[in-house]
């Protein structure tokens, strides 16, 4: 994960866009927590700039 985040940084994207959470299928509460946390994080960061570039090209 650290390597992937370093690649994202090198490319020019925020490394926080990718994270790994260790959960089992029985950990619903933790899953909701992780999903909320990531949703908040990506909302704060805004849309993926690569996607908006793709729209520009269309």
């Amino acid at each position: 994960m650290e390597y992937l985040q370093s690649l994202l940084k090198e490319i020019g994207l925020e490394p926080e866009r990718a994270r790994m959470f260790n959960l089992s299928a029985a950990m619903a509460g933790k899953f909701v927590e992780a999903a909320k946390e990531m949703t908040e994080k990506v909302t704060e960061l805004g849309p993926n700039p690569l996607k908006s570039k793709m729209k520009d090209e269309r």
Partner: protein
């Protein structure tokens, strides 16, 4: 194996320059096993280039392909068409691979994506260390199988020098003294008498000092009608 390391994306982008179509060429041999330029790394570098150039507003068409060995014409023939159709080939092969592409495809612009470091082996997962300096006249038989050319910082033939301290080299306390390693090994094998023979100065003409090297095996060469 030949051990290499990837260049930074920044340097790779500079080398690729304003080319629009890029082919990232991986190699399936040495640089695959040292995780620098195999098919996995070629795909990653290719994606990195696509994404970062798109973000910078200068999108490039980047594809990747990996051959078994970049250092042999026969394997390069397999990618002849792909290589001819791009503005630049970014080779993730060692220095030999890059030159093989340049030599085999004279009209193709090729740039290196790796820094070729040395001939060595993995000492643990994620760690590679130099073992052979390709001096061209192997003396491992005199030193218990540990090379003083590659592993002594001064390449001494009659070591150790005064800079050997507690088994380490004076250049860096983390570097083991090559001659200490030789001594320890010969001692454990009961062959310390080997060290009593003083080695004469080495003929370095078999190494790089003699200029570019070449081996010709007449028994293996094809006669003109077989070529």
């Amino acid at each position: 194996m030949i051990v290499a390391e990837q260049k930074s994306l920044e340097e790779i982008k500079k080398l690729v320059g304003n080319a629009k179509k890029v082919l990232v060429a991986g190699c399936g041999t040495c640089v695959t096993v040292c995780f620098a330029g195999g098919s996995r790394e070629a795909a990653i570098v290719s994606a990195e280039l696509r994404m970062s150039t798109k973000l910078a507003g200068d999108p490039k068409e980047v594809a990747d392909v990996t051959v078994q060995r970049q250092c042999e014409w026969e394997y390069l023939d397999e990618i002849a068409e792909q290589v001819q159709g791009v503005d630049v080939v970014l080779s993730l092969g060692c220095g030999v691979g890059v030159q093989a592409i340049a030599e085999h495809f004279p009209n193709v612009w090729v740039v290196p994506g790796l820094n070729t470091k040395f001939m060595g082996l993995p000492t643990e997962q994620g760690v590679w260390a130099e073992r052979c300096a390709a001096c061209g006249d192997c003396i491992l038989g005199l030193t218990g199988g540990i090379c003083p050319i590659a592993r002594c910082s001064k390449s001494l033939l009659n070591g150790p020098c005064g800079g050997s301290l507690d088994g380490h080299c004076e250049i860096n306390a983390e570097v083991p003294c090559g001659w200490q390693l030789i001594y320890d090994r010969l001692k454990s094998m009961g062959k310390l008498e080997v060290l009593m023979e003083i080695q004469a100065p080495k003929n370095w003409r078999t190494s790089r000092d003699g200029g570019p090297r070449k081996i010709v095996r007449e028994d293996l060469r094809l006669v003109s009608e077989e070529k």
